[in-house]
Amino acid sequence: MEILTKSFVALWQVLAVGLLLGAGLPALFALGLRSLSSGRVVVTEGPAPQSKASALGLTGAVVCFAILGLAVAFGIIVIIFGKQLFG
């Protein structure tokens, strides 16, 4: 019974982190692409879709991809030093 309780707690955490990073980061990537592609991501009343990204769109995309870059770097740190960091 104790095994089940412990497993349930661990799984709940895995699911939460999974949703946050595993689903959230791809969503951020999509947001970056959308931003890059249309420039309409932040303001809905912005210009119509165009082939070149607006300055606002470009900024949004850079922010999104920068966060993703940090997340990947964090991922690599976890791969190498995971045990030291989290036990």
Binding site: Q13, V14, G18, S37
Partner: protein, 430 residues
Amino acid sequence: MYTWIATDELWMNLAGRTFRWSTAQPTLPHACNVTEAFFILAVVIVTALAFDFTNGFHDTGNAMATSIATGALRPKVAVALSAVLNLVGAFLSIEVALTVSNKVVNIQGADGSPVTALMGVPILTIVFAGLVGGILWNLATWLLGLPSSSSHALFGGLIGAAIAALGTDGVKWDGVISSIVIPAVAAPIVAGLVAAVGTWLIYRIAATVPDQRREQGFRWGQIGSASLVSLAHGTNDAQKTMGVITLALIAYGSWTDLHAVPFWVKGACAVAIAAGTYVGGWRVIRTLGKGLVEIASPQGMAAEASSAAIILSSSHLGMALSTTHVATGSILGSGVGRKGAAVRWAVAGRMVVAWVITLPAAALVGALCWFLADTISGALGVAVVFVILLAAAVAIFQHSRKAPIDAANVNDEWQDGLAPATTEPAKVLV
């Protein structure tokens, strides 16, 4: 061959050498001379590296199947990238996974040193039989194109060998439940859910992005997340083989440090897993990339990101999940999360069957190998089992040539079976 000298002593003449068994002093049931012990050690190391190789090629698809299926990377480029990342990942590992067997069997102490009673040839034989069980299961599932966990195959083999050698007390049944059964059930569900949510979000957010740009953009995201999965795989899985080989060296007596792995072991394991990855388990890649779900690059990215996040976090949150189970669940989830995507549940069902059978099947092989090696005993016993392993591996490889799958046809249309329609009838495959 042997004669009774006294009531409690058994002498045996084997290949010109004389061995003595004494029932009065049962401390060394497999008394061997040094040359024989060294031979057994060498066979164990070769077998462990062979397992590492099958581990690599069986799991290439976990990271790269979706990138290959969506055309984000050409097949050969994908396996080459994955191989390099596995190699780098293996060298990055600073952990010593010496206690890897402790989760499921009682052959090592808490610090990783072998149990005193098993020191020497007995523990080498158990580990050897376990590895053979793991390798044969990996090869059999590869032949059928079914992704199955290499770790579970290894644990299965070790459990079987431990039961054969030590009885049911040799197994930590609590550990089997908490670190094998529950994770195997939970992994695909959790990963599937995360990937489904990710896929759904992605398609909603990127709905206004022109189709071609969306496909292009997500290919990059897919390659990035798949690379992270490959790197983590190299670190995690090569570590296990390093632990097994180091354990063998300790059992033999040529290594004593419980907190370090000899550098040559690290190098050999890194090369073995990378070589296996590069050879590419095309059969498994095909099932994962084409068989389960018709996949587009946004789904591919959602699947790989889900896999990467779960694989990297799960072990630190108290429940290590198998890369294979997570990757498969993620790919399924990416099909569920996209409106109108086809998911072949029959293929998924066959995988589930394979996962359920993995542990008992590998355990059975492990137990049989241990009995055979123990009955013949000594170096000859281990050698006989090794020859059987080689013969079985060659037979499985020959069988795979009847409907070969490689970089050229891995992406062919999926038509109710692993074998592409362009080859001979698919009756050789279940």
